[in-house]
C-alpha cells in the first residue's frame, strides 16, 4: 500500500494546491482528480469513467443513495482509489471515502484558522516595510494547506478507511462545533477592520441600510449594489449642484472651472 499511498498523497497535494495556489482552475473537480488517480493506480479508463459519474453526483445532478463525502475533492480521490484498489462499486467506494473527507474538512478548518493567525505577522511586516517577507510567508501558507492534504491522502490509503473513521470519531464534538462557530464569528473581524478603513462620521447609517436590504428584504448582492449606486448617484448630483452654486458665488473659482461647466457629472460618468 506504500506506493499507492504516495501517489494519492501527491494527487491530494495537487488538488488542494490548485485551489489555493492557482485560484481553482477546476483541477480539483472529480473529472480531473479521478482521472489522475486512475492514471497513478494503473487503471486510467476506470478513473475517467469514475470521474464522470462522480462529477454528476457532486454537481448535484444525481443522487447516490447513501452517505455522501462532504468534500468533493477528497471524496472523489478516495472513492476512485478504493474502487480501483478494492474492486468496489461507486456507492461502496464513496461511503468508504466519507470518514476521510470528514477528516479533510476538519483539518481544512484548522488550516484556515492558522492562516488567520498569520495575519498579525503580515501586518507587522507591512508596518516594517518588509514586502519580501510578506511574499515569503504567503508562499509558505500556499504550500502549508496542500502538505496537510497530502498527509491525509497518505494516511487514508496506508491506514485504510477504518482507522481514519476511528480517528474522526475521536475528535470531540466540542472542538468540531467550536471551530464551526469560530468560522462564523471571525468574518466579523474582517468586516470591522474594513469598516474601520472606510468609515467616516455620518455614514454609519448606510451600513444599516445595506444590512436591512440584505436581511429583511433578502435582496441579492447585485440588487443591493444597484440600489447603492443609484443612491450614491443621487447624493452625488445634489453635492454637485451645491458645488456649482458655490462656484457661481465665488467668481475666482468659476473662472477655474469655466471650461467644465457644461460637462455634467452624468455625462462624465457614462462617457467613461
Amino acid at each position: 500500500m506504500l506506493v499507492p499511498a504516495l501517489w494519492v498523497a501527491l494527487i491530494m497535494f495537487v488538488g488542494n494546491f490548485s485551489d489555493c495556489g492557482m485560484s481553482d482552475p477546476m483541477i480539483r473537480r472529480p473529472l480531473v482528480m479521478s482521472m489522475l488517480v486512475g492514471l497513478a493506480l494503473g487503471d486510467l479508463k476506470t478513473g475517467i469513467i469514475m470521474g464522470a459519474s462522480l462529477e454528476v453526483i457532486f454537481l448535484g445532478i444525481s443522487g447516490i443513495g447513501g452517505a455522501m463525502p462532504s468534500d468533493s475533492m477528497t471524496g472523489s480521490i478516495f472513492g476512485t482509489a478504493f474502487a480501483i484498489l478494492n474492486h468496489q462499486g461507486v456507492a461502496v467506494a464513496l461511503s468508504l471515502a466519507v470518514p476521510i473527507s470528514l477528516l479533510a474538512v476538519f483539518v481544512n478548518q484548522l488550516v484556515i484558522f492558522i492562516r488567520g493567525l498569520l495575519l498579525s505577522t503580515f501586518e507587522k511586516y507591512a508596518e516594517e516595510d518588509k514586502s519580501k517577507s510578506i511574499e515569503r510567508l504567503h508562499y509558505l501558507s500556499i504550500f502549508g494547506g496542500p502538505l496537510v492534504y497530502a498527509l491525509i491522502g497518505f494516511l487514508g490509503i496506508y491506514l485504510g478507511s477504518g482507522s481514519i473513521s476511528a480517528l474522526v470519531k475521536a475528535i470531540p464534538p466540542v472542538v468540531m462545533n467550536g471551530l464551526t462557530v469560530l468560522g462564523q464569528m471571525l468574518p466579523a473581524l474582517g468586516i470591522a477592520l474594513l469598516l474601520n478603513m472606510i468609515y467616516e462620521k455620518g455614514n454609519m447609517l448606510y451600513l444599516l441600510l445595506g444590512f436591512v436590504l440584505s436581511s429583511y428584504l433578502k435582496l441579492p448582492i447585485i440588487a443591493v449594489a444597484l440600489i447603492g449606486i443609484i443612491l450614491a448617484f443621487i447624493l452625488a448630483s445634489i453635492d454637485k449642484n451645491i458645488l456649482e452654486v458655490k462656484n457661481m458665488k465665488t467668481p475666482k473659482a468659476k473662472a477655474v472651472s469655466e471650461d467644465n461647466t457644461n460637462n455634467s457629472l452624468e455625462e462624465d460618468f457614462f462617457n467613461d
Binding site: G21, G51, I134, T180, M185, K240, D272
Partner: protein
C-alpha cells in the same frame, strides 16, 4: 494639484505581466478574517514597489502595504479588475496631493460584492456546468478528452477575464479619476464611493457573519427558541451586534490579535454551552 501621469511608466509590460500571474495566487492565504486580503496585496506588490522605489518613500509605501491587506473576497477570476482599479488609484494617490486614500478600499469594497455575484453565477453556475457537461459526456465512455476539454473550456474564459479585467480596470480607474479631478468632482465621488462602500459592507455583514443562537429553553409548558425571539426584534441582530462591537473595539485600539483570542474563547465556550 498635479495630476499629470504617464501611465506606461509604472504599469509597464513587466509589471502588468507580474500582476497577471500573481493573480492566480490570490487565494493562498484565504482565511475568515480578511478573506483573500493577503493575496490581493501580494498581487499588486510589484506595482507598489515601482510606485515607491526609493528608501525615503518608506512611510507612503508602508501605508500602501497596510491598505492592501484589507478584507477582500471575490470570485477569483474577476479579482484582477478591482485590483487594476486599486492600482491606478494608488498611483493617483501618489500624484495628487489631496487624494483621499480611504476611497481605494471603499471602491474595492463596493465592487467585490456585486462582482462576486456576477462571477459566481457566470463561472460556477454557467461556464463550469457547460464545461462539465461536455467533459462528462466524453468521460463516460472512458475518453481522456473528457477531463482535458473540461479544463480547457473552463480556463479560456478564466484567463481572458483576468487579462482584460486587469487591463480595463487599470485604464478605467486612471482615466475616470483624472477627469474627476480636473473637474473638481473628486471629493463628491470619494464621498459617493464611501456611501456605496458602507452599503455593500452592511450587506456583507449579513451574508458573511452567519452566527445564530441554538439556545432553546423551557418554561413550564412553554418552550422558547431564542433565535426566533431575536429575529422578531431585528433580523440578523447577532451578526450586526457582533460586527459593531468588534468595530468599536478596533476604534478603541484593541489589537486584532486580542480580538481573535477573545473570539476563540467565546466560540468554544458558547458552543460548549450550546448557546451558539
Amino acid at each position: 494639484m498635479t495630476n499629470k501621469t504617464t501611465k506606461t511608466e509604472i504599469m509597464d509590460k513587466t509589471t502588468f505581466r507580474k500582476i497577471f500571474w500573481r493573480s492566480f495566487l490570490l487565494q493562498g492565504t484565504w482565511n475568515y478574517i480578511n478573506g483573500a486580503g493577503v493575496g490581493a496585496l501580494y498581487m499588486i506588490l510589484p506595482f507598489i514597489r515601482k510606485l515607491y522605489p526609493k528608501p525615503e518613500d518608506k512611510s507612503a509605501r508602508v501605508s500602501a502595504l497596510k491598505r492592501g491587506l484589507a478584507y477582500f473576497n471575490i470570485t477569483p477570476a474577476l479579482a484582477p479588475f478591482p485590483m487594476g482599479i486599486a492600482s491606478s488609484m494608488e498611483e493617483q494617490n501618489k500624484n495628487i496631493v489631496d487624494f483621499d486614500p480611504s476611497s481605494i478600499n471603499a471602491v474595492k469594497a463596493s465592487l467585490m460584492g456585486p462582482l462576486s455575484g456576477i462571477g459566481d453565477s457566470l463561472f460556477w453556475g454557467t461556464i463550469r456546468v457547460i464545461a462539465a457537461g461536455i467533459g462528462i459526456s466524453l468521460a463516460k465512455a472512458g475518453n481522456i478528452l473528457g477531463p482535458i476539454l473540461f479544463l480547457v473550456i473552463y480556463n479560456i474564459p478564466n484567463f481572458i477575464a483576468r487579462y482584460y479585467g486587469l487591463k480595463y480596470g487599470y485604464e478605467l480607474g486612471g482615466d475616470f479619476i483624472q477627469k474627476a479631478y480636473k473637474n473638481g468632482y473628486m471629493k463628491i465621488i470619494t464621498k459617493a464611493a464611501g456611501i456605496l462602500g458602507m452599503i455593500m459592507v452592511g450587506a456583507m455583514t449579513f451574508s458573511t457573519v452567519t452566527l445564530k443562537t441554538i439556545l432553546k429553553f423551557k418554561m413550564g409548558s412553554m418552550s422558547f427558541d431564542l433565535q426566533k425571539i431575536l429575529d422578531q426584534i431585528m433580523l440578523g441582530i447577532i451578526p450586526l451586534t457582533v460586527t459593531l462591537i468588534t468595530f468599536w473595539l478596533i476604534r478603541k485600539k484593541v489589537s486584532a490579535n486580542k480580538i481573535i483570542v477573545l473570539m476563540v474563547i467565546l466560540s468554544f465556550a458558547l458552543s460548549a454551552l450550546k448557546i451558539l
